[in-house]
Symmetry: C2
Amino acid sequence: MIFIQNEVFKALADPTRRQILKLLSSGDMSAGDIARCFDMTKPSISHHLGILKAAGLILDERRGQNIIYSLNMTLVQDIIRWFFDFTKNDSEEERS
Amino acid sequence: MIFIQNEVFKALADPTRRQILKLLSSGDMSAGDIARCFDMTKPSISHHLGILKAAGLILDERRGQNIIYSLNMTLVQDIIRWFFDFTKNDSEEERS
DNA sequence: TAGATAATTAGATAAATATCTAAATATCTA
DNA sequence: TAGATATTTAGATATTTATCTAATTATCTA
């Protein structure tokens, strides 16, 4: 049984953060690029990026003045597996 | 692109609620049966069940004095599809 | 119908969180 | 090195949320 940290689910519970993940699924972006997509201050977006990073959902890399964020596909795959485990019924009476 | 309501992710953000879902993946249970699995008052569990139900993650049916809860597998499958969409890169430069 | 059992609702409270402004840090370039 | 740009950190605040106790609702059965 796969284990996913609580912080991962907490990170996913905010619509802004899920939108950030969607953006990153199309390609890596700098913090500024990401912030420009939202009607929110840069510190607020930075806060969300920090939560996503702490959860391991995104990775960061400084490139000059910019910090480039990318989606951590490995964790996304683990999450899919975690949900997929619900589709395997492990009760006795249901076994054919 | 599949859409999952914000309440679904909020419901998943609590460890007690995820544990309830795990329990229900093995088979339907009454509210009391569920409450007995936790070191928490019945009203607190009832609160969590209400949030899971409002999110559509669980279904309920009264059977005499008991209310039987079950996992809504259809929504679980939709969630899997939602995460799976992240694994399809839709950027131009990455296309082979 | 009275009492017992199962479950929820109401109301209170402490903790967590999303957001903002202001300040700090890091990097580049003229 | 001074100024500009990119980003984060600090600190404050309003809102949300998880939990509890007490009260209410629904059902069964003697």
